[in-house]
């Protein structure tokens, strides 16, 4: 066990865990940030997507010891009032069915739109195809990313 100091959603946290513990489980089991979801544990589904210095990463395969001084953003910290353009678009398009994968989808979309504010449909599909949605809300995810893109510019 070792003490890890983490900057998450612009707040300082510390967790006394083994260094190989994935960031996902530190967030969930140690810090009570359960918005980041466990889906596969092997970076295949994207449910655990968080931002590390603004870039989308899979927290299920990121050992906490590798986070270092990087700034972590989780779904809870994407916006203060839940009004990030992507979050708003998700409501407007009424994307969610069960909703379990959507935090990961939103985090992937938010990081993607920051890099590419005016994406083509092909680019959206390319960026979002790494995230699984078992309910099959893909049409609406695609639509919501378009809506978010149109509102941010």
């Amino acid at each position: 066990m070792a003490l890890f100091k983490l900057s998450i959603n612009n707040r300082a946290y510390s967790a006394d865990v083994e260094g190989d513990t994935p960031l996902l489980w530190v967030l969930r089991d140690n810090l009570g940030l359960v918005g980041t979801k466990y889906g596969c544990g092997i970076a295949q589904c994207g449910a655990c997507t968080v931002h590390l210095d603004g870039k989308a990463v899979r927290s299920c395969v990121l050992p906490v010891s590798a986070v270092g001084k990087a700034k972590v953003t989780t779904i809870e910290g994407l916006s203060e009032k839940g009004d990030h353009p992507v979050q708003k678009a998700w409501d407007e398009v009424d994307v969610a069915q069960c909703g379990y994968c959507q935090a990961g989808q939103i985090m992937t979309a938010a990081a993607f739109l920051k890099e590419k504010p005016k994406p083509t449909e092909e680019e959206i599909v390319g960026a979002m195809s790494g995230n699984l949605c078992r309910c099959g809300t893909y049409h609406r995810i695609r639509e919501a990313v378009k809506v978010a893109a149109s509102k941010t510019n």
Partner: protein
């Protein structure tokens, strides 16, 4: 027809007052003998008056509507309250929705399965809203001194036009709560619905998009321990011995407990439990045949020819029909086992205390979890509470109570509040799969190319009856024989979204396409002719609504411009399941020599559509599910052990692989007949038939991606 019980209603008011307003008492909506029970006061706004099991109205005009059935992504937590709000003439913006706990006294059928929740509750929900509205109107009439019949309602307000009086519902909630509820209540004319049929956004959208703790896996409790369980690695193994010394010595591990064939590592975090499980030394012994997929293929072939079949339906003289046939068409179709793969893996919280049991988690059948907990602990069900969390998908997997049973065992043995968590690997290799099945279809055509004989034999592995003997084309063929053979295996199976029909529909609709082609007829016209026959001179009983089926076929043909598109290869499919009717047209376009699935056009008759947005997505999602699993879903075995254990080996459909899905609902005013499943079954057939048009190769086995037609196409 059930009515409100007046005595219990008065009892409720009295007891509520005695409890000081902190607790609210409910009563069974439909069972007039039920005793009042305490329900969770936290869920209902302070100062609210509870009108029935579903509905409370506060003096602040906030209306709280309880949705009793588990929410797994079918949208019930939005749709149920919409129905109550419609009859109440409530202002939807002032409606608060809460998930009900398991409460047999207040609710019936707190189950999510079989696309049955809305059909079951439709009238109950409407009456709950209509009764409360009636009481509010009468309370206002008494206060205003005007006839109740002159009072109108809209947007949670009461109006009396002649006197110009108006008031919000909150103002009269208390007075209305003291009135005697009517024993019979007139419901709205469906044509006057204002909220039902609109697009209403999922009530949990904001919580979902901001990462609020909604799901079972998100449930944490002070002092709670985690448990990760090692189950036998092969179907057919049983536990022989456990050496848990090394695991117990790992950091964070509190205990290792054994029950049945399972070994549970109990500790302070998920990760610590997962790591400690890896150092368990467990020996297993063989308790049943350790089957491989090659064995299953041999078993299918053997039982297809030599198995002792159970006759499911027989009409006319099949042997004679085939003997006298001008043409016989025969084909076999096969489907693999499938895991459900809900994105939230199985998990459940249990706390076995000295005085009872607390259960919290994602289950489609909370009643089953409680029954099982009662059996294990000896507590009567009254001492066991079940809180239903939002669920990250179900697809039938959460109908089983195995994970709740595990949590109860572990909590009991470890003497602590425990949450059992399945890893994805546990979830995928843990069984209760869709059963693998092979079908053999045979059709006899006479010299006029009329279908005079039809045979179907289904051979399934732990499938129960793998046929739906009374579904189409039964009733439309004079000579018909449907039978089945079942092989019992150690590989566990269970209901998987649209059980049996999720693969039967594809096989049957593909075969019908083959028969239509052999008869030289258009696939749509061929089906319509069979249905006309089922209507005019039915062969035996017809247990589906022929007119509703014809209507969706015609609608899908019209909306897809059937047979008239250039360069587009269309495939047709139609299926009746779970009381609803869905026809689909798949459209394949050949690009650079490769066939690509571009569109699915779906015509749906599920009766009245409650929430347009939710229903539209339910159909799209069902089609994506059906297409995805037909294309890619494959679970194979070696010596009882699954070859696939995570999403790297088991392929789920992704955004870049979906077709566009164009949805059309039939507007016929029939009471809702269910939508959680019916859009899935026809999808595979629509895809297979469209690919056939494009490639001239039949797709007779799932997953399609392994078929000859897809060689060289990724």
């Amino acid at each position: 027809m059930s009515t409100l019980n007046q005595t219990s209603r008065r009892d409720f008011m009295k007891l509520a007052a005695a409890a000081g307003g902190g607790l609210f008492l409910g009563f069974n909506w439909s069972d007039t003998n039920a005793a009042p029970v305490v329900v969770d006061a936290k869920q209902i706004a302070a100062g609210s008056v509870k009108f029935n099991s579903y509905l409370s109205i506060g003096s602040d005009n906030i209306i709280t509507i309880v949705s009793p059935n588990p929410e797994i992504g079918q949208g019930i937590k939005t749709a149920f309250p919409m129905v109550v709000a419609e009859e109440l003439d409530a202002d939807w913006k002032l409606v608060k929705t809460v998930q009900g706990k398991l409460d047999n006294a207040a609710f019936e059928r707190q189950v999510t399965g079989g696309s049955g929740a809305v059909p079951h509750s439709w009238e109950r929900l409407r009456k709950a809203g209509a009764t409360a509205r009636h009481l509010l109107v009468n309370a206002a009439a008494a206060k205003w001194g005007v006839p109740a019949a002159e009072i109108t309602t809209a947007d949670s307000k009461l109006f009396h036009k002649a006197s110009g009086k108006s008031a919000g519902y909150g103002e009269f909630a208390e007075a209305a709560g003291k009135l005697t509820a009517p024993t019979d209540i007139k419901l709205k004319d469906e044509k006057s619905f204002k909220l039902i049929g609109q697009s209403v956004r999922n009530v949990d959208n904001k919580n979902i998009a901001t990462g609020k703790p909604l799901f079972g896996l998100d449930f944490y409790r002070e002092g709670m321990l985690f448990a990760i369980i090692q189950r036998p690695k092969a179907f057919g193994f049983k536990l022989k011995s456990v050496d848990s010394a090394a695991a117990k010595a790992m950091p964070g591990i509190v205990d290792v407990v054994t029950f049945e064939n399972s070994v549970a590592v109990v500790g302070k975090s998920t990760w610590q439990c997962k790591k400690a499980r890896e150092v368990l030394k467990i020996e297993y012994e063989k308790a049943a045949d350790l089957e491989s997929s090659e064995d299953h293929n041999r078993i299918f072939s053997n039982l297809m020819d030599n198995g002792e079949a159970t006759v499911r339906r027989k009409n006319g003289d099949v042997e004679a029909a085939f003997k006298g046939a001008a043409k016989v068409i025969k084909a076999e179709y096969q489907c693999p086992f499938l895991p459900h793969s809900p994105l939230e893996p199985m998990n459940f919280f249990a706390h076995v205390r000295e005085d009872g049991v607390e259960l919290v988690g994602p289950t489609q059948t909370p009643d089953r979890a409680r029954e099982a907990a009662s059996k294990i602990t000896g507590f009567p069900v009254e001492k066991i509470s079940v809180e239903i969390t939002r669920q990250g998908g179900g697809f039938g997997r959460r109908l089983s109570a195995d994970f709740a049973i595990e949590a109860v065992h572990v909590s009991k043995l470890a003497k602590a509040p425990v949450k059992v968590i399945w890893t994805r690997e546990d979830d995928m290799t843990g069984g209760t799969y869709r059963p693998a099945v092979r079908y053999r279809f045979e059709a006899a055509l006479d010299k006029n190319n009329e279908l005079i004989g039809y045979k179907l034999r289904g051979v399934g592995i732990n499938s129960g009856n793998p046929t739906r003997e009374d579904n189409f084309p039964s009733g439309s063929v004079d000579n018909l024989l449907i039978d089945s053979v079942e092989h019992k295996s150690a590989i566990t199976t269970g209901p998987w979204r649209a059980p049996i029909t999720n693969f039967l529909a594809y096989a049957e609709q593909s075969f019908i396409d083959e028969v239509a082609e052999a008869a030289g007829k258009d696939p749509v016209q061929f089906r319509l002719a069979l249905l006309e026959k089922a209507k005019k001179s039915p062969a035996g009983e017809v247990k589906y609504d022929v007119d509703r089926m014809i209507a969706v076929i015609k609608l899908a043909a019209e909306k897809s411009n059937w047979g008239k598109k250039k360069g587009v290869h269309q495939g047709f499919s139609v299926y009746f399941s779970h009381r609803s009717y869905v026809a689909q047209v798949g459209e394949v376009v050949v690009e650079k020599g490769k066939p690509a699935l571009k569109n699915i056009i779906a015509a749906v008759d599920c009766g009245i559509v409650i929430n347009k947005s939710g229903s539209l997505q339910q159909v799209r999602g069902g089609v994506v599910d059906g297409v995805g699993h037909a294309m890619f879903g494959n679970m194979t075995f070696k010596a009882g052990t699954p070859d696939q254990s995570n999403f790297n080996g088991f392929r789920l459909i992704r955004m870049n692989e979906i077709p566009e899905v164009d949805v059309h609902f039939v507007d016929n005013g029939i009471s809702p007949t269910g939508l959680g499943e019916p859009a899935l079954p026809p999808a595979g057939g629509a895809v297979a038939n469209a690919f056939y048009k494009a490639t001239k190769q039949r797709l007779r086995n799932q997953p399609f991606i392994n078929e000859e037609a897809f060689k060289g196409i990724s």
